[in-house]
């Protein structure tokens, strides 16, 4: 039990450290980059929406 909680805590700390390390994107945020990332967000939201729709209608 102790070992698993220690592993879990270590994992959480590692993830927090990664989040801190990569908090700020290093790429030059040009207009093209911003548009691409926005388009990607919209695309993924739509795709996930389609999947959820399929899952709900299957139930």
């Amino acid at each position: 039990m102790r070992i698993s909680s220690k592993i879990f805590r270590t994992m959480v700390e590692s993830i927090q450290e990664i989040n801190r390390k990569y908090k700020k994107p290093q790429i030059q945020m040009t207009l093209f980059v911003k548009i691409c990332l926005m388009a990607l967000r919209v695309y993924l939201i739509l795709l996930i929406g389609v999947m959820i729709f399929k899952f709900v209608t299957m139930l």
Binding site: K21, I27, F32, C36, L40, Y43, L47
Partner: protein
Amino acid sequence: MNLFVRFFYTFRRWSKALKMFFILAGPGIIVMVADNDAGGITTYTVTGAKYGFSLLWFLILLGPVAYYVQEMTVRLGAVTKRGHAEAIFCAFGAFWGWFSILDLILTDWLTMITEFIGMTAALSIFHIPPWITVVGCCLIMVGMIMSGRYWTWEKIALFFCLINLIYIPCVFMVNPSVKDIALNCIPNLPPGGFTNELFFLLMANIGTTIAPWMLFFQQSSVVDKGMQVKDIKFGKIDTAIGSFLTVAVAMCLIIVTGKLLYGTEVGSAAEAAIRLMPMNQYIGSFLAIGLFDAGLLGAICISLATSWAFGEVFGWSHSLNNKIREAPWFYAYYFLVLAFAGIIVLIPGAPLVLITLFVQICATTLLPAALVFLILLLNDEKTMGKYKNTLYENIVNIGIVAVIIILSTLYGISAIFPNIFN
């Protein structure tokens, strides 16, 4: 005399370059040949049985597509010395980084299961029980990395790539019409016209040619091998040879199944091998051996792609040049992926068809993101310096990526809603 001296120095320069190429070749050939994994072999078998030689031209088009996409990972890896996962985290921040890596884990684990399905189905033709196949494959894959040297791993992987070429002699055994092959290398619409089934098969062929794990694998492999900026040209040649081999293998398989099974309904490569046995025992056996090898090669690369990605992000030692005690987490994750996939295949009544379907859907969410990140990174002057994409490369690569995104999205949607394009 002068001519002799010039000839001598030219020969020496070329032999040195060739020697250098043989040292640096590997990642491109391995990733491209492994691209013809168990799922790929099934797709080509079904394509050949359904449409004969009619779609050979389409595969020829896919060769350059695969080359242009993978070549970008070589440049990115050699310049940044970072794997694809780490490059995404650095450039786009934690949100996109976590999205990519979690999607990669899910896609790779599920794809690993399909590789094991292919391998067990192939060896069951030779009456080998699935559990022996699974245990044997796990032992081979663990054995490959035990040496703690990237070089050893790579040479064993290249040996498996060589076995993948088993389909080439099969073509000479079926003696196809050269005229028919040549005619079908020119774009044409197969008999029956443009149907939903044809559309699905074309998209499946694209799906097997460009997979998300390939981007992660080749970039990490380039970094682990220690390729430098000056080695990029060799990496490009390596990738070009690999893309030629992958197309050659795919075409051979279509020619064999198109010649012997044309007009029959075939559901998988294993089923095709069973049907071919009474016609020609050698070809049936070669198809089964090739299917097993394809699954094994795919599993080797996919499990490593994920382990490398995890190692890069979590900061663990993540090189095949490390011994197990030097990179315990990297190897632990590698073993975990193997064990998970193997066990799932052995569970009686596991939803294997659903898993195969889910792979396509997950890949649809990851592939566009990975490709867009690749294009953006290759255009970032701060990251790439003088090695960033030229105008010509951008036109070609953005065009390819746009087409792949549209088609893979349609493929994913048609997997979710099978009757949508009827």
